[in-house]
Symmetry: C2
Subunit: 226 residues, 2 copies
Amino acid sequence: MHERIWANWQDFVGKLDIYPMIRPYLETSQITIHEVPAKTCISNAADEGYRIVYILQGSVKVVSLTYRGIRILLDEIGVGSFSGHISRMRGYSFDANIIAETPCVYLEFPDQLFCQLMENPAFALEFYRSTSSRTYQMYRKVFSLTLFTAEENTAMYCLMHPARLQSYTLDEICEEIGISRRSLCYVLKKWRKEGILKGKEKRDRIADHEQLMQIAEHIRQFYDIP
Amino acid sequence: MHERIWANWQDFVGKLDIYPMIRPYLETSQITIHEVPAKTCISNAADEGYRIVYILQGSVKVVSLTYRGIRILLDEIGVGSFSGHISRMRGYSFDANIIAETPCVYLEFPDQLFCQLMENPAFALEFYRSTSSRTYQMYRKVFSLTLFTAEENTAMYCLMHPARLQSYTLDEICEEIGISRRSLCYVLKKWRKEGILKGKEKRDRIADHEQLMQIAEHIRQFYDIP
């Protein structure tokens, strides 16, 4: 199984910046290659260890299930990036589940080998370059949930992804925004009353773009989006 | 002025891991050394650029003033660490003010020179090592404001810093927790009623430690504190 996938991906992996550093461990199968269908849980919060992966194809979602039962999308990671319980390496744990959003192909690093690779300055630098920018993106997302109301966050989401009101379920939208279903329903109901949305649930479309822009005024500044 | 400070700090700076890389720029005074009293604003949100500093003595607070007028302590940085508008290097801005908490001595890097140093893998690695762990700490702090109520966050704060209820002003406590003054007053009033606190404002002391521990049950798990 691994060999068949490997045959397809050998050329691609050979061109990665990290290839010279990981090559010996690929050859001895200490670093393994995996192919999973969409919606597979690559690693869940209960798993021990770091479970570091490097995405070769597709994208994964990092989702945290909070004590109040709300699911929050923390991060979305695509080709050419590391994922896993990276915060655990630093002694933090955000109880995240890593779920394949699309069919995925990825490399998996055993914990001990990964720590050993991090002793190599060239590998460590590649790893930090790949992950450091994303931690700021994750930070901005969570910070905006503290700084702005559920309505402002929902307005921002609708401006960024106008089609999702129709194509996503309420649960999916809640998870992507990071608010409770109750808060989302309250906001949508309010907007229908105010004429910002037209149509029934699941058929909502934005009828008053101007007003939505106004609600999102401060959060747009925060996201630096005109 | 700079020369007098420099004479005192030359030995200390000479032992830093980054010294071999920054030495030529210290000698030509492109990297400058500064000594400031407590409460000095080292850089405010309105300043342009990255304003990267490296702390040699004392500690600084990174404080964001939100659109709702709430001040949130994002980070506290001590000796041997970088600070500045680091997130701006990644295209994010959290409108932070960097304020000396104690008397401070620090090195200041002009933006262009800092970018040039980041091209040096050895310097970049030192920088990432110093900053990457802290971004997770900042993340946890802000995430906990989303995950938990003002009461839970206040309970956690009181458990971590039991003396501050008496020695800090309400404004200082709000800023450190990251909640509004109104929320804090509401929580303290509730706790006085429930007998968790005894004494009047500014003389509050924890009278029912057990109940505080119970309020903070989930947030203690999140912070991994027994």
